[in-house]
Subunit: 221 residues, 2 copies
């Protein structure tokens, strides 16, 4: 927290990109994505809104920096001890990414809305692709499996966070779905309602991830 990274003389700058992104993530956790405005962030930094544009050309850039920050330490989450086979390593990476997104309110929405090509993002992707290439998969297969795992993980996390926090005043998502399904004639949805409205998302995620890894195992022969 002390200014160990402020080499400049004179009055220290009130605005530095790292602290700004951290403050933005704090604001996100406290109030959600809707309430994260450049003006409110500027307020939290003790500065005018326009000053932010010296470090972030656009709000989208700020959001991208936040997404990148969320993945800090992701690629090294399991250390260099590459225990387990490629299947377990793949699952561990996916679980780590899910945890990173769930760690911040609306984390999945921020991530899905940006396209970071920062070091944290690329190192993670490189490790995931590396696990698959080392396991004997084709370059093409490894790259496409990356898409599948990331898309599945982001998609599930998006759903999970959306279900957790309904718009204030409205009933929670599971209740809305239950009402809609029972009002119409959807025999298969009715039969599966308990699972569809379950708020325990971890088994849902693990099922989807299991399908993908199983599919990969088959494809490798």
């Amino acid at each position: 927290m002390s200014s160990t990274s402020t080499p400049a003389r004179g009055r220290p700058a009130r605005l530095d990109p790292v602290r700004t992104v951290e403050t933005a993530l704090d604001l996100l956790d406290q109030s959600g994505l809707e309430a994260l405005t450049m003006r409110r962030l500027a307020d939290a930094m003790g500065v005018q809104a326009g000053a932010l544009y010296r470090y972030f050309a656009t709000k989208q850039d700020l959001l991208t920096a936040m997404a990148e920050r969320m993945l800090a330490g992701l690629a090294e989450s399991d250390g260099e001890a590459t225990d387990g086979d490629w299947c377990e390593q793949l699952a561990a990476l996916a679980h780590a990414m899910r945890a990173a997104l769930l760690a911040h309110r609306d984390g999945a929405r921020v991530f899905a809305g940006t396209h970071s090509t920062g070091a944290n993002t690329l190192r993670f992707a490189d490790r995931l692709v590396g696990v698959l290439r080392d396991a004997g998969f084709t370059d093409e297969e490894a790259a496409r499996a990356l898409f599948a795992v990331v898309n599945l993980t982001v998609g599930h996390t998006l759903e999970e966070q959306a279900a957790r926090q309904p718009e204030s005043g409205a009933p929670a998502a599971p209740e809305v779905l239950r009402a809609a399904v029972t009002a119409g004639s959807y025999p298969h949805l009715s039969a599966t309602l308990p699972t569809l409205t379950s708020t325990d998302f971890t088994p849902h995620f693990e099922f989807g991830l299991g399908l993908v890894t199983e599919g990969l195992r088959v494809r490798r022969g």
Copy 2:
């Protein structure tokens, strides 16, 4: 286009929900999600912005109605001729959903940002779950497979549409990724760059979908 569904006497209402949603989708296709504002939609309907709120309590409700409208005819896309085994039927449904989202500019973003429980959405989900239940899967498995397929499909379509339309002025997504990867040391990403930067998204989607269906096949035994 003629007013066949206007039972009211006197001056016909300028605003009816169905035409409003259709106009909103037209506006979306022409200018994208960013440019879709209540004011611009009102303009296109020849009305003041406030008038829209008699039919849609909130912009979010309008977007939800648009998402629901996008899936019109999805559940019946293959007719009642249930040709092929459950695997082919599942793939056909996923492909139909992808096509429905790709049919509108930013279609995936609109869908991902809403939670429709309308008839088109529920009929589609009911059919997908039905295919799996009829194939012998557990209620729990069927429901969770629905999540996996939908999340994968939405995730892939989100990526595809994001890659197609970069923010004006900026270079396209593949070029940004190529530059970032070659700038750092990411051996596995470098090796798979041709696939990672490919703009042909159909094989990417089919690979991911293939993994899921293969995984389901294994799980059924």
